[in-house]
């Protein structure tokens, strides 16, 4: 059976599954329940000057009958005094020495503030520190969270101050509310970060009530922008992990966060360069027990792939993630409809007709029934029809091999000789 142990910047964990900093890691009671359920580690709810939260705090995006396709929160960091949290961290670490406990920290961008909190949390035996430069709401108005996380200089400086005092590995948690995440990732590395984690939540407003015209969520009739998380943010998180993993300057391990719900999501993040993953919203939606299938599913997957260790997955797909200009213009694939599986909803036709290249045509079968066929020479292989097709196997995208590849960059070089 494959080995799920990971080594994340020197932090050992029995599996790659950690709880992200958030409501599930608010107290010792919760973290201990999570460890009992099988989680390998937990990043404690962000510590700092205790806040006062508003009610209500969350809102969910339901899509097509499924709940929590996306999730929005305006919760701040911990509202409990540091001593209370530290006591529970110490107790939990004592009772679960084989599990990783990471302290998430957020203080004002001042050297002495970072030094103080680092010393106090390391005193109770945490395995590492995570600097929360991410929360997009509330704390940002107090110049913390994403307000400092969006400024590379501040990221670098605060990381540096932390490193001055820290003895355990320092993970810098990045905000996605920035144009180019590699800029802040790089700043963290310059500041001496041992690892980076991403993403924190994304600026969002969940919705507006059509009857009351109040926002979701609303607090006495008022709302504010919140942080977006859950399945809907996964592709954004994955691309940010990939951006960092493909940067030659960023050599530190990456902890992948954002929309991870199951072992399959976790495998994707690891293939794209994450050495472990963190989960918040899915644990809020279903409880800690989801980790059972994450562990079981990952183990079965590794066994099936003939891999001995979860670490063998890390970064395997990174070399496949390129700049647009390095993609092969000569690559060709076309859609083909398999009549055995087609259920004749005609959705592919109308999508292609109205939004692609008008190449899915009706024809009449010998028995008089109407069916659809792709005019392959005009098909640009965009995938739209196969994306909208509700019948598994009805549309296959057929690869049409070309002898030579030619990327955009190569093409532009060729043309440049001719003055293009």
């Amino acid at each position: 059976m494959a080995d799920l142990h990971i080594d994340f910047a020197g932090i050992k964990s029995k599996n790659p599954f950690w709880l992200a900093s958030g409501p599930p890691t608010n107290t010792g009671y919760q973290v201990q329940r999570a460890f009992d359920a099988g989680w390998g580690g937990a990043v404690w709810k962000t510590l700092g000057d205790p806040v006062i939260n508003v009610t209500s705090r969350f809102s969910g995006l339901n899509y097509g009958g499924q709940r929590v396709a996306g999730f929005n929160n305006i919760e701040l960091i911990t509202d409990r005094p540091l001593e209370v949290n530290l006591r529970e961290i110490r107790e939990t670490k004592r009772a679960y020495p084989d599990h990783a406990i990471i302290a998430s920290l957020m203080v004002e961008p001042k050297q002495e503030k970072w030094h103080e909190i680092v010393k106090r949390v390391e005193d109770v035996g945490v395995d590492g520190l995570e600097l929360n430069f991410g929360c997009p709401h509330g704390m940002a108005e107090r110049r913390m969270g994403s307000a400092s996380g969006q400024v590379p200089d501040l990221v670098e400086k605060q990381t540096y101050w932390t490193k001055e005092a820290a003895e355990t590995p320092v993970i810098v948690k990045l905000t996605p509310n920035i144009t180019d995440i590699t800029a802040t990732a790089d700043a963290a590395v310059q500041g001496g970060a041992d690892a980076i984690s991403m993403i924190n939540t994304i600026n969002s407003l969940m919705g507006v009530d059509l009857d009351t015209w109040n926002t979701f969520p609303n607090i006495a009739g008022k709302g504010t922008h919140g942080g977006y998380s859950g399945p809907a943010v996964k592709p954004i998180a994955l691309s940010m992990v990939a951006e960092c993993a493909t940067q030659p300057d960023i050599q530190v391990p990456i902890s992948g966060i954002g929309g991870i719900e199951n072992w399959q999501d976790a495998v994707e993040f690891m293939l794209m360069g994450a050495s472990n993953v963190q989960v918040c919203t899915a644990a809020m939606h279903h409880g800690f027990r989801i980790v059972e299938d994450m562990i079981d599913g990952l183990t079965n997957y590794l066994d099936e792939k003939g891999l001995n260790s979860a670490m063998d997955l890390v970064g395997q797909s990174v070399s496949k993630y390129k700049k647009w200009g390095d993609l092969d213009l000569n690559h060709k694939r076309v859609a083909r409809i398999n009549q055995d599986y087609c259920i004749h909803c005609n959705k592919c036709h109308i999508s292609c007709e109205d939004a692609a290249h008008q190449c899915i045509e009706f024809y009449t079968e010998s028995d008089g029934t109407r069916a659809l066929k792709v005019r392959e020479e005009d098909c640009v292989g965009c995938n739209l029809c196969s994306i909208v097709c509700p019948a598994d196997g009805a549309i296959e995208m057929i690869e049409q091999p070309s002898d030579v590849s030619m990327t955009w960059n190569e093409r532009q070089r060729l043309i440049s000789v001719f003055g293009g």
């Binding site: 989801i290 079981d296 599913g297």
Partner: protein, 447 residues
């Protein structure tokens, strides 16, 4: 095989196809993944339903199969024959809000995957030196054997039939439960090192004393026996059959044209009657009537079976009491003479007492009569073991499944008493599991 025979076999193919991939995903994702889920509690073997369904959604089919079979060693059978409307599906929280999750069908989908891919799900425990004999390789016996093997016992199963599986192999009609499904489950148990000695009847091929002396514990899982006599004149006529023997012959591959074009009367209205009736229809019977002395309300067949029978064109004649079977000069059945019935006060079983109306007998034309009025008990064997029993229902401690002989345990239909629960595969499987646990607890101190 010639084409007629091929055709005959085709009509015995499993009626219900596997779910389609899209159906599986839509249905599995509809499950709410309830906490402390009522479906799980309603399953007699307590399969972790939300978890096995969650694993389907993540493509972890091996994990899904493990979760199911961990709780139920005969889960491929159960997915086909369990009265799910009464059990898991009946308890699903979505019954009120929308439609219940098709738990049985999802379970069948996972088990079909397992039968196709044969993953190794379990291992035998480290040998603890203790030996247990199991008499009867039906679901109760097999389930106890699987659990005991996992605890590290050396298990020998004695089975009088040529193949293991009990009624799963021989008694439930193939178009609901193909034989290969039951035999696959037997295979999984054999893989754990359980020795299954078929064609070996305890009390005949092996002596009772040898079993009692040769093992540290004995599990009696012999189920029930054949259909009892009707006790009416004409029972010996040519054309009168025992439902269980009839189904057994069909499941063993004896498809005959004996019933083709015939008019059949099936007496009784339980599982067995319905299985026999639908079986006759597939064997070509022109008309099949089920005759039952009580009313539709009192019949013991499950609603889904009743529905299925009606779909198959079976006719029901309620409140009808067979009085005698008449034959021609050659001794062949020609009709069943019946008396109409009135329903009186409720009896001990809570069902209204049938009262015969004497002066209005009528005849139903028939060439074939099939008896399906329950099953007898193997009282001689039970008494040879010297076990306390009530009309052949072996008495056990409800927690430990121990009989009056502390070394002998009993599980499955052999302890199923009328009016107490249902004779079901899933109940037999759970009892087998519990018996194994009880034995382990008892013998643990001696290991």
């Amino acid at each position: 095989m010639d084409s007629a025979a091929t055709h005959a076999w085709k009509i015995f193919d499993e009626v219900k196809p596997d779910m389609k991939p899209k159906e599986v995903m839509e249905e599995a994702n509809r499950c709410l993944f309830c906490y402390d889920a009522p479906c799980m509690k309603a399953c007699p073997t307590h399969i972790d339903v939300p978890l096995f369904i969650k694993k389907i959604t993540t493509g972890n089919m091996k994990g899904s199969a493990r979760i199911i079979m961990e709780a139920n060693p005969v889960a491929a059978t159960c997915a086909r024959v369990c009265p799910t409307e009464e059990l898991c599906e009946g308890a699903c929280v979505l019954n009120d809000a929308s439609l219940p999750i098709m738990i049985g069908d999802l379970q069948r989908h996972t088990m079909n995957w397992a039968m196709k891919n044969n993953p190794q799900l379990f291992e035998a425990g480290e040998q603890n030196g203790k030996r247990v004999a199991v008499i009867g390789a039906g679901p109760a016996g097999l389930s106890s054997a699987r659990e005991l093997a996992r605890y590290g016992y050396q298990v020998t199963v004695f089975e009088k039939q040529a193949e293991a599986g009990g009624l799963d192999t021989y008694g439930i009609v193939p178009f609901r439960l193909p034989k290969h499904v039951a035999l696959w489950e037997v295979e999984q148990i054999k893989k754990l090192g359980v020795s299954i000695q078929t064609n070996t009847e305890v009390g005949k091929d092996v002596s009772i004393q040898a079993v009692l002396d040769g093992f540290d514990a004995v599990i009696l899982a012999i189920g029930m026996a054949h259909v009892p006599p009707l006790g009416i004149p004409g029972e010996e006529l040519d054309g009168v059959f025992d439902a269980i023997q009839l189904i057994e012959r069909v499941k063993s591959g004896h498809v005959t044209d004996r019933f083709s074009g015939k008019k059949a009367v099936v007496i009784g209205a339980g599982n067995t009657a319905i299985d026999a009736a639908t079986c006759l229809k597939r064997l070509g019977a022109a008309r099949v009537q089920i005759v039952y002395r009580r009313s539709e309300k009192e019949m013991t067949a499950y609603p889904f079976e009743y529905r299925f029978a009606k779909e198959e064109g079976i006719e029901f004649r309620w409140q009808t009491q067979p009085k005698r079977i008449e034959g021609d000069e050659n001794g062949n059945v020609t009709s069943v003479v019946c008396a109409p019935i009135m329903l009186g006060e409720k009896d001990a079983s809570g069902r209204r007492r049938p009262i015969e109306i004497d002066n209005a007998p009528f005849a139903i034309n028939a060439d074939i009569v099939v008896k399906a009025i329950g099953q007898m008990r193997d009282i001689p064997l039970i008494e040879a073991f010297d076990l306390a029993h009530d009309h052949g229902v072996v008495a056990v401690d409800p927690l430990t499944y121990q009989t009056s002989n502390p070394k002998v345990y009993a599980a499955g239909d052999v302890i199923f008493g009328n009016g107490k629960g249902e004779a079901m595969v899933v109940a037999a499987a759970e009892q087998g599991k519990k018996t194994a646990q009880a034995i382990h607890e008892q013998l643990l101190s001696k290991i």
